[in-house]
């Protein structure tokens, strides 16, 4: 009911922080606490993620950045003991009030740490999501598959072997097909959970180039362990430590003149 009002407030508060920022807020997180049973993993996380920007989440292992990422498409729902307080609005809708987690996940795609293609053909992998939404028309599916694979910059490498097993591809190719599989759903947001941590440097570079390209159409949130990567691909960076957001700023600012000494210690490699 009052979501529009809240959204407006969010926008205003964000505008105070970033005067020059014209992009609208895609994801707005307010006072998010998350518990695994008795253990609290996130403390009062609040941040605004803007449309068609790349937002990087950095921080040492166990700081809650992956947990936070998984709240955005409610993947944490899969764990019974998880409890959440606070609000997350995506496109102005409170995603934890709406019951329709399926609808949410079609709008918020995800790419995982390790490529997790299904043991099917490349084509069937990319067509999987649309088929589950009830698209059966062969022409339409062909179009989606081609567009998605092109969008993930892997079409030329796989166009002659679409019907062969996806598991026969190299790790880097698999990860790009995973990205194609995610964009086949035509999502608004793509979440990436350390998408290059299992890849070699050349494949990593390709995925990073892809991210820079995808940002034109999608809002991207990426968790990364690699600070150079965060610096290369992201517009904004949030530094997580022990379940709290210590600093959330323009990426160049985080890396060149962090406000918090803990951020400085982390980005200069003093710990983590």
């Amino acid at each position: 009911m009052n979501t529009t009002l809240e959204r407006k407030e969010v926008k205003e508060s964000a505008n105070v922080e970033h005067q020059n920022d014209q992009r609208s807020v895609k994801i707005s997180v307010r006072d998010l606490d998350l518990f695994y049973g008795e253990n609290q993993a996130l403390y009062q996380v609040s941040l605004d993620i803007r449309e068609k920007e790349v937002t990087a989440l950095i921080g040492p292992s166990g700081c809650g950045k992956s947990t936070f990422l998984r709240t955005l498409n409610r993947m944490n729902d899969l764990i019974d003991s998880v409890r959440i307080n606070g609000d997350i609005h995506i496109n102005g809708n409170n995603i934890y009030q709406s019951k329709d987690v399926i609808e949410l996940r079609t709008k918020v795609g995800m790419v995982f740490q390790k490529p997790n293609l299904f043991p099917m053909s490349i084509y069937d992998n990319v067509a999987y999501g649309p088929r589950m939404q009830g698209i059966k028309n062969k022409k339409e599916l062909n179009k989606i598959v081609e567009e998605s694979l092109r969008g993930a910059a892997i079409w030329d490498e796989v166009k002659d072997r679409l019907k062969t097993s996806a598991l026969g591809l190299s790790g880097g190719q698999q990860q790009r097909v995973c990205i194609a599989r995610a964009i086949a759903m035509k999502p608004d947001v793509i979440l990436m959970d350390e998408p290059t941590s299992a890849l070699d440097p050349i494949s990593t570079l390709k995925v990073e180039e892809l991210i820079a390209h995808l940002k034109k159409d999608y809002t991207i949130v990426i968790v990364t362990h690699n600070m150079q990567q965060a610096a290369r691909v992201s517009d904004k960076t949030a530094f997580f430590l022990n379940g709290e957001v210590i600093e959330f700023e323009q990426t160049d600012q985080i890396f060149s003149m962090p406000k918090d000494s803990r951020t400085e210690d982390y980005v200069t490699g003093r710990f983590g």
Binding site: N73, M75, L78, D80, I102, E103, L104, R105, T106, G109, M110, F112, K114, N116, L117, F118, P119, M120, S121, D124, Y128, G129, M132, Q133, K163, T164, S165, C178, R181, A182, M185
Partner: protein, 274 residues
Amino acid sequence: MRKFKDNLLLGLLWFGAFLTVAILLIIVGYIFYKGIGLINLDFIFGDYSPVGGGGIWPMIITTIYTIVISLVIATPVGILAAVYLQEYAKQGKLVRMIRFATESLTGIPSIIYGLFGAVFFVTTLAMGMSIISASLTLTIIVLPVIIRTTEEALKTVPASYREGSLALGSTKLQTLYKVILPSAMPGILSGIILSMGRIIGESAAIFLTAGTVAAMPEGIFSSARTLTVHSYLVTQESGDIELAAAIGIVLIVMILALNFAATFISKKLNKADY
């Protein structure tokens, strides 16, 4: 000294493996040696004759009946139960108890199931000594096997497949149908093969529930004799080891054929995905 221990252990391992294979070969060899003389088309496709010299076709048909009927019931029920336990049920005390019960059920001697079948299906449900009574009893015998193997197969499906599918906005049921069950198929199939072996090999429970009528069954409500029961009776009644061995050969060939068929189907199923 360490070298010696090493060699000793290796020798023991080798001996164990050798003994197992040797016993198998000796048994199969002995059965073939004793029974192969009786095997011909008349023996396999001929009707039974009480005065001797007849064939075993009615018993083969009865055996196939029991396999098909019990698997048609046990497979879907077992898979559904396993999927529920593994994918849906809250892992707690109740599920642990159900698991414990299914595990215990696999260990109960089949004669006990036979007695239960004789009382429950034959008498209480008035199905009489019949193929259906025997098949239902066999269903209970193999159900825990199918549940256990299916559960194990579901456990081996990587969690990343589940996450991947759910993250694409598919429902739990779609994930189950399109990703999890196909991946678990080889394991589920091996459970079904194992069950077929148990059904073919079962005699005590069938003896008590299907009876011993040595004639072509008219339908699933007639009493009939399976191959193993027949083999037991001919040895018992006439001491005809050659005949029993010949039946043994047919049983062995049937089991091998079914195993090959199942492996073949499993490979076909896997290929269909690519």
